[in-house]
Structure formats: structure tokens, C-alpha cells
């Protein structure tokens, strides 16, 4: 079995992949825990949860591939891969025709385009600022005193979305305070926040040359308000896989499987590429 572990800034996500299933590699278990400050301990907990779900012992894991910002931090890894490469591989596995990906996590936003062979052609990530990422929604939900899980659905009930124009997360909070003071509804404020995030995401996606429909992954992809804002802003269909936050872990596991097979002498597919990265 192959374990793919995505050590993100908010959560660690783990996927157990059946390495005997070939192209139809099957996910046997998933586990997710908060990242915290002890990355290795949290990663072992996430792995234990995934193993429980798969009803497998720890000894069944033959290869560990890590991804995410903490990918170098696990002493028991066999390979580490960036979340850009692993996200691309995970999406292409789930959507063989996909050519554009948006991945929004706790601190990062990544736009990726793929070439016809499924390799990363272009990518662009946010810089130090987290205004376009999940933590912005977390802070907004906290200020508006609503459970984070309800934020996306509440935004769908907006009647008059209020724009959030600031490019800085901290200053955007000031704008939210102004809207609250002016008596704007929580639904309208939330919808404005998602539209602001969609605007930022669309800039990244245009820079990587998005051509048609989009696959949206990462924790924020679970929020319907964000999905609708993206569809309206981009005018394309936005696909969200059932376990959107586990896609990078899945991709890491698939790449780990590929590496393991390559080491055993099996051939690897390669594709031409013109890479633009930012």
C-alpha cells in the first residue's frame, strides 16, 4: 500500500492507495487531523485514521509520499513532492480531460494549467499574503460569528452582495466591519467575500492560460458560495471532486506509486511541456 500525506498549513490529509490495482488504483482509506505544531505526530495520527478506515495495519504501508508545505518534515517519508505537482496528478486521475485547476487551502491559492499529456504546464501561486486563501474566510466567519461550515450555504441566500475591494486580508476585515455597521446582512457580506476571492482566483487562472472548465480542489472547494462565485465570475463549469481536500494527498500517493514502479523497472509516461511558473 502507498500512503500519500498532504501536510497543509491547517490540516494534514492522508490517503491510503491500493498499489495492486493498476490504473484503477483504489483509495482504501482517508484520515484528516489539524496540523498543529508537531507535524510528525499529527501526520502519524492522520495516517492512523486512514489505516483504521482501510482496516489495515501500519505494516501494510510500503511507501510514503509527502506533499504540502511540511513535506520535508516527516522522517519516515520516501519521497516528497510539491502540492503543485501532486495536485495536478490527483486531478488528472479523477478527471482525465482536466486542463485547469484551482487549489485553495488555508494559506495558499494555486492556479495550475496542464498540457495535453497531463503534466504541469503553468502554475501561479499567491505570495506571502493570505487574502485570497481559506484563512481569510475563517477569520471572516469568526468575526461574523457563524460556523465556518455554514458560510458557503449562507452566501447562496444573498440578495445584494457587498463588494470587498481591499487586497489585504487585514484591511478587508475593516471593510467587513463597515458593512456590519451599515446594517448589511451576513449573507450579503459573505457573498461579497466569495466574489472577492473569485476575482483574485480568476486573475491567477488567466495568468496560467485557463481555456475551458475548471476543477476546484482544496478545503475551500467544499464551500458552495465559493463555487457559485467562481462559476459566475469565470463563466465556466466548475467541477469539485467528492473529497476535494484530499486530492493533493491522492496525487502524492499516485506519484509515489509511479516512482515505486519505476524503481522496479516499469516504464513511466512522459510528455512535452512548456513550463511557466510563478
Amino acid at each position: 500500500m502507498i500512503a500519500g500525506i498532504d501536510i497543509g498549513s491547517g490540516f494534514i490529509k492522508t490517503v491510503i492507495l491500493d498499489d495492486a490495482a493498476g490504473r484503477d488504483a483504489a483509495v482504501l482509506g482517508r484520515g484528516q487531523v489539524r496540523t498543529g505544531v508537531d507535524l510528525e505526530k499529527a501526520a502519524r495520527q492522520a495516517l492512523a485514521l486512514a489505516l483504521d478506515e482501510a482496516a489495515l495495519p501500519a505494516s501494510a504501508i510500503a511507501y510514503v509520499a509527502t506533499t504540502g508545505f511540511g513535506r520535508y518534515s516527516l522522517g519516515f517519508r520516501d519521497i516528497q513532492i510539491t502540492e503543485i505537482t501532486s495536485g495536478a496528478r490527483g486531478v488528472r486521475f479523477l478527471y482525465p480531460g482536466a486542463d485547469a485547476i484551482l487549489d485553495i487551502g488555508g494559506q495558499s491559492t494555486r492556479a495550475i494549467s496542464l498540457n495535453p499529456a497531463g503534466k504541469v504546464a503553468h502554475f501561479k501561486t499567491n505570495d506571502k499574503c493570505a487574502a485570497g486563501s481559506g484563512s481569510f474566510i475563517v477569520r471572516a466567519a469568526k468575526y461574523l460569528q457563524i460556523p465556518l461550515e455554514q458560510a458557503g450555504d449562507l452566501a447562496l441566500q444573498a440578495l445584494k452582495p457587498q463588494p470587498i475591494s481591499s487586497i489585504c486580508a487585514v484591511l478587508a476585515e475593516s471593510e467587513i466591519i463597515n458593512h456590519v455597521s451599515a446594517g448589511t446582512s451576513v449573507e450579503d457580506i459573505l457573498c461579497g467575500i466569495y466574489e472577492s476571492l473569485a476575482d483574485r482566483s480568476s486573475l491567477l487562472l488567466k495568468r496560467v492560460g485557463m481555456r475551458r472548465d475548471l476543477v476546484f480542489i482544496g478545503g475551500v472547494a467544499r464551500q458552495q458560495g465559493m463555487v457559485r462565485a467562481l462559476e459566475q465570475r469565470l463563466g465556466v463549469r466548475v467541477d469539485v471532486p467528492p473529497h476535494a481536500e484530499f486530492v493533493c494527498a491522492l496525487g502524492a500517493a499516485l506519484l509515489g506509486l509511479q516512482r515505486r514502479r519505476a524503481a522496479a523497472g516499469a516504464s513511466m509516461s512522459l510528455g512535452g511541456s512548456c513550463i511557466a511558473a510563478e
Binding site: R77, Q80, K119, T125, K128, G272, A276, A277
Partner: protein, 441 residues
């Protein structure tokens, strides 16, 4: 796990470089203590160190001092002081580090830095230097000469441009005569220019060595080691001796088939200066992938010689003027910068281009987004674009930068670049190619 690799070669080059640079700082310290020799503060880009050599005056480059502070993690304190004084957050961080260090009395070396005998602002391509050197002159109480070098608007400077700069150089000679109390020695000036020619020959041959596989020379990180002597000693016999040694040593490595990395995996071209506050961390990001910088534009800020230009002792004033006007990176227009990079990618057989955008240098970094688009969309060259700063540590995000570097090299690896699979590099310019783009002759 990706392989780790040895990233550095240590040879006589490095020990001799250290000796030379220490001797330079000792001379500056001597000038600070005794008032002699004469010192001239000037800008690296298009520097006219040959004129100084003719008077035995010592150059004082604020950029070298600033980057030394950054490498030693001492740049933030003077930057913050300059910001307290009113220098804007987005002002050139070199300026802030230099002015802050000046006012705090911070020296990057063991000794002191002198009050310059002359502040010579040869503002080649960078208007910020006008205010920087004006401030430096005021704060230090030194005389200022503003040497106006017209920006290169066409492929080559006009005859009027050359004459204009030569006339100013002759005015600088008068000032140096007054400052040093020496009569200008034309023969000594010609000798200095001839030394420069010999150094430029050796330096160019070193750069061409990087066209070999594996490259015996890192044309970015190791080039920086050589750039100190290049700017301080170019016009002197000590410079000639140093570069002869460096060339012999690197040619011997090439003859033995030794590369920067035991098994060179990727070859990249670099645009922009390094993030000096995180120099080691940045270098390690290349070493981890055994990615060798085979050419860089940064190594041409002080002079662009690998394509043929040499100082000519037959007409030394005009040679210095042409160097200032045309043959250094910062005075060239954007299309010439494109052409230079394209030639590097093609002639040095690079797998990709890495652009480092310097946030506090709007003048030089502006337009690099278009540069990236040109190389990826028109030429099909894999390109990575990263942002931080050359001096201000607050702009460097190590985790994000490392992530982008890793993802870029992963993408090259998956595309089979290191196995020689085609990456559309070196192909003919596409239908959107700018018809004005010309390869530097």
C-alpha cells in the same frame, strides 16, 4: 527524495579573491584613518574604474558594502533607520541599507569606510542613483560630480552621446587632478585600459566555459565571487593576475571534465540579482536539484563583455564612454535584455530561465512579467518567476520560494528535460515574436 549535491568548488580563486577584497577594505580603512589614498564613490554599472586607476584612487562601491551587510544578516537595522528618517518602504533597499549604515557608522569590514574624496554619480540606467549619490554626498560632506550617461535608445549610442560622455570624463579628470594633487598621466590611463582589456578577455573565456557539459563554472553564485575583483581591480595588474589564475584553474577543471555538480542535472539561466539576505538558502535550492546556473544577466551589470566588447587602449576615453553607454546591462533597453537572455538560453543550452523580481527595484524589475510571457509563450522556454528582494530580508518567504523552485524543477523533471527530451527551447520565434528583437551581434 531528490538528491542532494555538493554545490561549491573551493580553489585558489576563492583564497585569492578573499585576499584581494581584504586588501581593498584595508586600503579604504587606511584612507579613513589617514586621508590617503584618495577614494571615489561610484556605481558598479558602467563604472569607469580605469580613470581612478590612473590616479591611484581607490573605488568605493556602496552596492558591494550593502550586499555584504545583507549576506551577513546585518542589513535590516540600517534599512529600518533609513525608513525612520523618511525613506519610503518601496525605496531601493540598497539605498536604505547604505544610508542607514553610513549614519550609524556600520562597516561591512573590520576597518572603517572613508569619507569619499569624490562622489561620482555615473547613473547608468538607474535614476534612483541620482538621489542616492546626492544624499551620500550631503551626508558625508564630499564633493559630487553627476556624470550623465544617456540611456541607450537604439541599438548603439549616437556619436553625440559618446562625445557628451567623453567631455564629462575629461571634467572628471580635472576634478581628480585637484583632489589628488597629481597631473593626469595619459600613459598610465592607457595602461589601465589595457589591463581592463586583458581582464575582460579572461572573464569572457571563463563565461564561455559554462557552455560545456557539465559546466565547470556556476555563472551566478560563483560569478559573484569574481565580480568583486572585476569591479575593484579590473584596471590593475593585480586584476590581470587574478583573472589569469581564475581562467587557468577553471580551464583545468573543464579539461578534467569536472562540473559544478558531480552529475549536472539541469542547466538554467538567471535574470536578476540574488536575495543576498538568504544567499545560502537560495543557493541550496539549486544545489538540491543539481541545477547549474550556466549564464546570468546579473553578472553583466558592471559590464557585458562575453559578446565581444573590450576596452581599447588606442582610444581610452572613447572606450570608457562606450562601456558606460552600451556595454553594461543596466543601460540597455528591454529588447536588448530579451536578446541577451535568449542567446544565453540557446548558446549555453539551458533547460529554463529563472527570473528573480526585486521588489525594491522597480526600475530594473518592471516589465519582467512581460519578459516571462515572452519566453514562455513566444519562445517556449520553461520559465520560473519568483519575487523577493536583493537586500531587504522582509521580502523573502523561504517556504514559498522553495515551493516554487521545487515545483519548477519537478515539472522539468517530469517533462524529461534532464534526459534531453525536447522542451521547445531554441525553436524559431512564434507568430507573436517581436520583429524588433535582434540577437546581440
Amino acid at each position: 527524495m531528490a538528491d542532494t549535491a555538493k554545490s561549491e568548488y573551493r580553489g585558489e580563486i576563492h583564497s585569492r579573491q578573499k585576499e584581494l577584497m581584504s586588501a581593498w577594505y584595508q586600503r579604504l580603512d587606511e584612507a579613513a584613518r589617514t586621508g590617503a589614498p584618495a577614494t571615489v564613490e561610484l556605481m558598479i554599472s558602467g563604472n569607469c574604474v580605469e580613470l581612478l586607476e590612473a590616479f591611484d584612487a581607490v573605488p568605493l562601491y556602496p552596492e558591494i558594502n550593502a550586499l555584504q551587510l545583507a549576506i551577513r544578516h546585518q542589513s535590516l537595522e540600517p534599512i529600518l533607520l533609513a525608513e525612520e528618517l523618511g525613506y519610503a518602504a518601496d525605496n531601493c533597499a540598497y539605498v536604505k541599507a547604505d544610508i542607514g549604515a553610513l549614519l550609524k557608522g556600520i562597516s561591512p569590514a573590520a576597518g572603517k569606510l572613508p569619507k569619499p574624496s569624490l562622489v561620482l554619480c555615473n547613473f547608468v540606467g538607474c535614476n534612483t542613483y541620482i538621489k542616492w549619490f546626492e544624499h551620500a554626498a550631503v551626508f558625508q560632506g564630499s564633493p559630487l560630480y553627476m556624470l550623465d550617461v544617456p540611456f541607450l535608445r537604439a541599438d548603439s549610442p549616437s556619436r553625440e552621446d559618446v562625445t557628451y560622455v567623453v567631455r564629462q570624463l575629461r571634467e572628471v579628470v580635472k576634478m581628480l587632478e585637484a583632489i589628488t594633487g597629481r597631473k593626469f598621466d595619459y600613459g598610465r590611463f592607457r595602461h589601465a585600459v589595457e589591463c581592463s582589456r586583458r581582464v575582460e578577455d579572461a572573464w569572457s573565456r571563463i563565461k564561455l566555459l559554462a557552455q560545456r557539459r557539465p559546466s565547470p563554472f556556476d555563472a551566478y553564485f560563483d560569478a559573484i565571487t569574481l565580480m568583486g575583483p572585476l569591479y575593484v581591480y579590473r584596471a590593475s595588474p593585480a586584476g590581470v593576475e587574478f583573472f589569469d589564475i581564475a581562467l587557468r584553474e577553471l580551464e583545468a577543471r573543464a579539461a578534467r571534465g569536472e562540473g559544478v555538480y558531480d552529475q549536472e542535472k539541469f542547466r538554467v539561466v538567471l535574470e536578476g540579482p540574488p536575495p543576498y539576505p538568504y544567499f545560502r538558502a537560495f543557493r541550496d535550492m539549486f544545489a538540491k536539484w543539481r541545477a547549474c546556473p550556466v549564464a546570468s544577466t546579473y553578472s553583466t551589470v558592471g559590464g557585458l563583455w562575453e559578446f565581444g566588447f573590450r576596452h581599447d587602449a588606442e582610444d581610452p576615453f572613447e572606450a570608457v564612454a562606450l562601456h558606460m553607454l552600451e556595454h553594461n546591462l543596466t543601460n540597455r533597453n528591454f529588447l536588448q535584455r530579451y536578446a541577451q537572455l535568449r542567446r544565453y538560453v540557446e548558446d549555453w543550452n539551458a533547460h529554463g530561465l529563472i527570473i528573480h523580481f526585486v521588489k525594491s527595484c522597480r526600475l530594473f524589475s518592471a516589465g519582467q512579467g512581460d519578459m516571462r510571457d515572452y519566453f514562455t509563450r513566444v519562445l517556449g522556454v520553461p520559465t520560473l518567476y519568483i519575487e523577493s528582494d536583493l537586500e531587504d530580508p522582509r521580502y523573502f518567504a523561504e517556504a514559498q520560494t522553495k515551493n516554487r523552485m521545487d515545483a519548477f524543477f519537478e515539472a522539468l523533471e517530469h517533462a524529461g528535460a534532464h534526459r534531453g527530451l525536447p522542451l521547445a527551447v531554441s525553436g524559431p520565434a512564434g507568430p507573436h515574436a517581436n520583429p524588433n528583437l535582434k540577437v546581440i551581434p
